[in-house]
Amino acid sequence: MEKMDRRDFLKRVGAGALVTGAGALGSGVMVPTGLWAQAPKIKGPIKVGYQAVLSGTLAGYGEFHKMGAQLAVEEINQKGGIAGVKVEIEFRDSTMKPDDAIKNARYFVDSWGADYLAGVDSSGQALALAPIMDKLDRVLMVTHAATEKLTEEWVFKKGIKQIFRMVNSTYHDSNAAAFIAKDLPALKWATVSPKYEYGFTCWKLFQETLKKLKPGVSFPAESWAPAGTTDFRSHINTIMDANPDGLYSTEWAGELITFLKQAKQAGLFDKVKHVMLPVGAAMDVLEGMGAEMPDNLWISGRYFFLYPNNKDNNDWVARFRKRWNHYPAYVSEAGYSAIYALKAAVEKSGSKETKALIQTLEGMELDTPAGRRLFRKEDHQAMYDVPWGKTKGDPKYPFKIMGESKVIPAKSYFSRPPFEGPGADPPFSS
Amino acid sequence: MLLEVSNIDTYYGTSHVLQGVSLAVEEGEVVALLGRNGVGKTTTLRSIMGLTPPQSGSIKLADREICGQPAYHVARLGVGYMPDDLRIFPDLTTDENLEIARRLSKRTGYWNRERVIELFPKLGDLARARGLNLSGGEKKMLGIGRALMANPRLILLDEPSEGLAPLIVANLIEVLGKIHQQGVTILLADQNLKFCRKACHRGYIIEKGTIQHQGRMEDIWNDEAIIRKYLVV
């Protein structure tokens, strides 16, 4: 395995940034420029196969995916497409089942003729797709599934180069949370988390990192809720029996709403002062909880529409709201950016061939609503910063927002891989 | 003619059970359907009731065609039925078994709970006992009582004397007499010739799905050849 030290890595990143920067020079972010209009003509439309869950209890996530990706396609086509070629997009229901994910991907590539794949919600689906991606040989831009194994094992170790991930992985949900937690006056942490790999992994990483960052901590209780839990009363009891100072929970979507509502009723937030919800800043949760959302919970997500507070992002949120009458969810941003990543890659490489796209995407920097993303060459993970903050009310919004945001730089908690061995685990003191 | 069954053919699956059965019952008569096991007595009653609709033929109740009508319709026209296995509703108490039959029929008349209990005083003591806890004899009383509660013009009784001790059979004859006095027409199917002789006016003898003989009960009783042929060893 090729060894690489940090300086090398930074150099490459720097170089990538330079190139990309040059490409974007003098133009508004995301706005197609004339620079690549002269590029050799690409044949036919560029086809994007996008799969997300469109049925069942999580169907709302699929809709948010669609809004983002659809908006990007509309914008791009309105302005003449990618390098003069129209973008076509087709959505398919992934049903959250791995075998359906595989079937969809095969359909997109082998039958419909997709040039680029995006979407995928669950870790199980992403991992099921990983082994066949080299055979399908299309770039798969994962916009939701969070398992670190995808980029760490399949891209980095096994060299399945077709896989990229637009969003944060479990490292953000666990390690970054630990970085926040270490500064909180809480020594005893407990969790109520989903009873599947995502929940298990995040809790394990959170504990490991926090232990290193703050040796005195203990973890007196954990409680696991199977998918589809509608009643968290017993889980809440488990936590309250342990009497912790802090609660960490990777519950998400509807189940997080249910959990928060029931925990509030049970007075959990009166007893436990420090609560961390790594995916609590999702729009469905914030909107769903509305005014009932307790104040002062630490929340984060893959993206939050008020961050970064700059013109690009604010304009995008405005466009999104105008088009869909919704605030963008994090999957919307990921879906949107996934299409723009394709655009950037195609325009830069002048080709829609997978090989060219991979080469271009590796190390590419991309300005997106969530801020500047860097696709790490080694594991194809997009590096970008997502804030943590505490819930608070704001008269401008009918729901609680993230106040007092705190940004942990992605690279400080996101270093493993490619840096294996001693010192690769957080805390990653430089 | 209150009941006129003409030439009905009834099948159970492929089994041609009734082969052109015809019989008639006058208003106010007590008529017996005699025959050994398995000759078609039960099926005849079920066909009249609409539980096993005949494939062809005609059944008229007071000149109204009821062949092929659903059972509940026949019941509401005033036909009471007691099946051979009685089929007392096991989850219902004695009172409820009676009540349900009365309220479902829109007919009014002589018969009500008090009158039935007058007829079978034992049922008064068992008012709150569930059907499944009753003895065979008690069920039989309840079965007859239930059939009466609808104030029917005609009741069909399947094997009323079967399994009853001699003393009770005698009692039953008395009871049927009382019922008859109230103007109820009775068609019963039974194997017990002595019982039928005392309880009925006329009799039909059925064998292998066809009526073989008919006549006044006294005549049948005195016809040794007929008895030997159709009824006894």
């Binding site: - | 699956g13 089994s15 000759v39 399994g163 002595k194 006894v232």
Partner: protein, 251 residues
């Protein structure tokens, strides 16, 4: 003749709800065509159910050829040589006549365990079934599904299926019910013939007294779970008690 093929001792709990439990003793002699008669609810069917295993025996013993069988499952009793036909048609309705008869024939020789052989290749069983078809007179309809046969033919098939396991003791529960006269004669001839051959001891439950008296060598009268009469047809015909039972109790 004269060997006891079946000995029933102190069998209880075998008839309907009407009467209290009594104990019953009954012997069946090998080779003697026996009929069991009695009015409804006398306990005839229950008795057969107990002997053949359809109902569990509560107490008492049943010895078949000297062997206690009252706790054995049905199929083991069948393999020992006890079989029965049913009062209501009880065959394999959607299978053809041939298949109906093949099942017991193959089962008897343990060949139904063969899961990869072709049924066409089961020559021995096919020969046996062919004989049987001739015997019961269904050869002409052998490929007809059983449920489209006439009722009489279904009854014939019912008897045929029971015979196919080559029982040494066979209970026939109203074998001629629902048959037309021609079929009836055919069945009765068969029974008489087979009984004479002596491999099978027949026990008949019948209501048709013509049949009972013309066929049986011994008649047992059951009434409320009790044996009311037992003897030759002539003896039974002249038994006053029996007559009473059929015409109704002393009213």
């Amino acid at each position: 003749m004269g060997d006891l093929i079946l000995q029933i001792r102190k069998l209880t709990n075998f008839f309907g709800m009407v009467c209290t439990a009594k104990e019953l003793d009954l012997d069946i002699e090998a080779g003697v065509l026996t009929s069991i008669i009695g009015p409804n609810g006398a306990g005839k069917s229950t008795l057969i159910n107990l002997i053949t295993g359809n109902l569990p025996v509560q107490s008492g013993s049943i010895l078949f050829k000297g062997r206690e069988i009252s706790r054995l499952p049905i199929h083991q009793r069948v393999r020992l040589g006890i079989c029965r036909s049913f009062q209501i048609v009880n065959i394999f309705p959607e299978l053809t006549v041939l298949e109906n008869l093949l099942i017991p024939t193959l089962a008897l020789s343990g060949r139904t365990r063969r899961f990869f052989a072709k049924i066409e290749g089961e020559d021995r069983a096919r020969d046996q079934v062919k004989n049987l078809l001739e015997k019961v007179g269904l050869a002409g309809v052998k490929d007809t599904p059983a449920n489209v046969l006439s009722h009489g033919d279904q009854r014939l098939l019912e008897v045929g299926v029971a015979l196919a396991v080559e029982p040494s003791l066979l209970f026939l529960d109203e074998p001629t019910a629902g048959m037309n006269p021609v079929e009836r004669v055919k069945v009765l001839e068969n029974i008489r013939q087979l009984s004479r051959e002596g491999q099978t001891t027949f026990v008949l439950v019948e209501h048709d007294m013509d049949i009972v008296f013309s066929l049986s060598e011994r008649v047992v009268v059951l009434h409320r779970g009790d044996i009311l009469g037992d003897g030759t047809p002539e003896e039974i015909k002249n038994n006053v008690q029996v007559r009473e039972v059929y015409l109704g109790d002393s009213v």
